[in-house]
C-alpha cells in the first residue's frame, strides 16, 4: 500500500503496538507516526521500504545525536563524576562498573560514599571498591553528603586521583528537601574545584515508564545533567522512554547497564538499541 503513498491502518496499529509496549509513550508514538505519514504523503521517500524501516530511520535520527561517549579528562585532577537518580535505579552498581572500566583503562579511580542515608549504602559501595581495588572515601552513617563530597575532593587531589566518582542516595525528583540536598552537593563541588562536577550522570532504570521523563526533566532543572546511564536493559523492558527524553532534553546517553556484574556496562549505540525495540 506504500506504493499508493498511504499507510494501512493495520500497519499503523501494529507499529503503535510495538512502540507503545516498548515504552516510547503515546505522545512520542503519535508524533513519529504523523511524521512518517507526512513524509510518505509528500513522496519524500524515494523507495518506501517497510514502514518499520522508515520508523527506524526516524528513531535513528533522534537517538544518534545522543551517542556521545563520556570523555574523561584526567588533567582535571580529578575529573569529577556526580551520580544521581531516583531510588533503586542502579546508581551504586553503575558507579562500580564505571570505576572498574576506567581503572582498566589505566586511570586511577576513587569512589566516594555520599549516600549516608540508606541502610548499608556505604558498606555496599565499600565492598565494590574493595573488589575493584580502587581508592574509597566514606564518612559515618548520617553525615552530610556535601561534607563527604568535599572531603573526597580534597583526598582525591592530595592523592593525584584521575577520576572521582560520587555516589548519592536515591531520591524522588518530587521531594523538594532531597533535591535541595543534591543541589548543595553540586554547589560545593563546583565551588571547590574548577569545572566540577565535570559529568553529572543521571541513572535511569529501563523498566521505568513515562515517569522517566518527569525524572529527567526535574533533575535537569535542579542540577546540570550532562549524561544518562540507562540500566537493566538485560531484562525484557526496552527503555523506549529514552526517545522522548532525547527529543525534549537532548542529553547524551553515556552507558547502558546490561547486568549485575562489574563488566556489564556498555556504550550506547543507537542502531543496536533501535533494533532491540523491534525484537
Amino acid at each position: 500500500t506504500l506504493g499508493k503513498r498511504e499507510i494501512s491502518p493495520e500497519m499503523i496499529e501494529h507499529l503503535e503496538e510495538t512502540l507503545i509496549t516498548a515504552d516510547l509513550g503515546a505522545a512520542t508514538v503519535q508524533e513519529l507516526i504523523d511524521t512518517i505519514k507526512w513524509k510518505v504523503a509528500r513522496k519524500e521517500l524515494e523507495n518506501p521500504e517497510s514502514i518499520q524501516c522508515l520508523i527506524k530511520q526516524e528513531l535513528f535520527s533522534i537517538l544518534h545525536q545522543q551517542e556521545r561517549p563520556l570523555q574523561i579528562d584526567p588533567s582535571c585532577q580529578p575529573f569529577v563524576i556526580l551520580t544521581v537518580g531516583v531510588n533503586g535505579t542502579g546508581k551504586t552498581t553503575t558507579i562500580a562498573k564505571l570505576g572498574a572500566l576506567l581503572q582498566s583503562q589505566g586511570l586511577s579511580v576513587m569512589l566516594a560514599a555520599a549516600d549516608t542515608f540508606r541502610a548499608a549504602a556505604i558498606e555496599q559501595l565499600e565492598i565494590w571498591a574493595q573488589r575493584i581495588g580502587c581508592a574509597f572515601v566514606k564518612h559515618r552513617q548520617g553525615a552530610d553528603p556535601s561534607a563527604v563530597a568535599f572531603d573526597a575532593l580534597k583526598s582525591a587531589r592530595a592523592r593525584h586521583i584521575d577520576v572521582l566518582i560520587i555516589d548519592t542516595a536515591g531520591r524522588l525528583h518530587t521531594k523538594m528537601p532531597l533535591m535541595e540536598e543534591i543541589k548543595k552537593v553540586y554547589r560545593i563541588l563546583s565551588r571547590e574545584h574548577t569545572g566540577a562536577p565535570h559529568e553529572t550522570l543521571l541513572v535511569l532504570d529501563a523498566t521505568t515508564g513515562q515517569n522517566a521523563i518527569s525524572q529527567a526533566s526535574l533533575f535537569k532543572d535542579a542540577i546540570n545533567i550532562t549524561g544518562i546511564a540507562l540500566t537493566k536493559l538485560d531484562g525484557t523492558a526496552k527503555g523506549g522512554v529514552i526517545v522522548g527524553i532525547s527529543r525534549s532534553l537532548n542529553i547524551p546517553i553515556r552507558f547502558i547497564g546490561v547486568g549485575e556484574k562489574l563488566d556489564d556496562l556498555r556504550e550506547f549505540h543507537a542502531k543496536d538499541f533501535i533494533d532491540a525495540l523491534f525484537e
Partner: protein
Amino acid sequence: VITSGFNKVRDRLQGKVELTESNIEDALRDIRFSLLEADVHLSVVKRFIAHVQEKAVGEVVATRVAHKGKKLKVSPADHFINICYEELVNLMGPVDVSLRFGSRPVAAIMLVGLQGCGKTTTAGKLASYLRSKNKKPLLVAADIYRPAAIEQLQVIGSSLGIPVYTQQNALPPLICKQALEHARSIGCDVAIFDTAGRLAIDDALMHELENIVAMTQPENTLLVCDAMIGQDAVKTAETFSRRLPVSGFILTKLDGDARGGAALSIKEVTGKPIKFLGTGEALDRLEEFRPEGLASRILG
C-alpha cells in the same frame, strides 16, 4: 500532568446536553491517551476502553428512552468520567489485603521482584505492620548475592527491634527452611523472606525461587513492583505468577509522581490483588491497598 486526562475530557464534553456515541468516542480517545501516559499496558487499555464504551453507549440509549430527550441532572462530562472511574475501581478490586497465616506454627511470606523495586525496605515495613497486628515476625536474609544486602536487612531489623535470620555457607532455599525452624525456636510466628532481585527471564534465579517454595511452602508470595514500572509490568507479573504461587502484590514508591498504571495492568492480567502500597523510604510508610486513590491517580 496528573489532572490533564480528566480535564481534557471535561473540556471536550463541556456544554454538551447529552452523551452521544460520537462525543463518547472522542472522550475515549483522550482517556486512552491518558491511560497509556499513566503506564497502563496497551492490551489492558484496549479492553478498558471497549468496556467503558459499551457501558457508556448503553446508558446513552437507556437514558434517551427513559428521559425522552429531557435534560439530565448530571452533566455528561461528569457522568462519563464517573463511568470511567467506577470501571477502574471495579477492575482494581475487590479489595483483599488479607495475609494467610495458615495452621503451621510459623507462617511464611516470600517477597519477590525485579532488582531495586523495594523488597528489602518493604520486608522491614511488613515486619513493622505485622507487629502492630500482634504478630511476632522474623526477617530472613535470603539475598546472598547483592553486596551488603544481608547487612541492609540487619540494619533495618535492628532499627525496628525485630530479629533477622542469616546463615553463612547456605543457599536461599535452605536458609529459608532453617529460618522457619529458627523462628519457631525463638517464639516468632511469621517469617518474611527477603529474596534477591531478579529478572523474570533469568531461569536459574527463577528456579531458585521455585526451590524456596518447594522447601518452605510459603502461605504468601508477594510480588513487589515499583509504581513507576512501564509496559514491562505485564510481562514481569505474568512470568512471576506463572512460575510461583503469587498471592498478591505490593506497589512501592507511590510517594513520587508516577501515575502507577501498572497497578491496573498486573491486577487485570493475573487476577491477584494488590495488598499494600509503599509510600516512602521510612519503615512506617506501608498502607493497605484502597482502589479509590489509585484509580483517580491513574485516570489523571
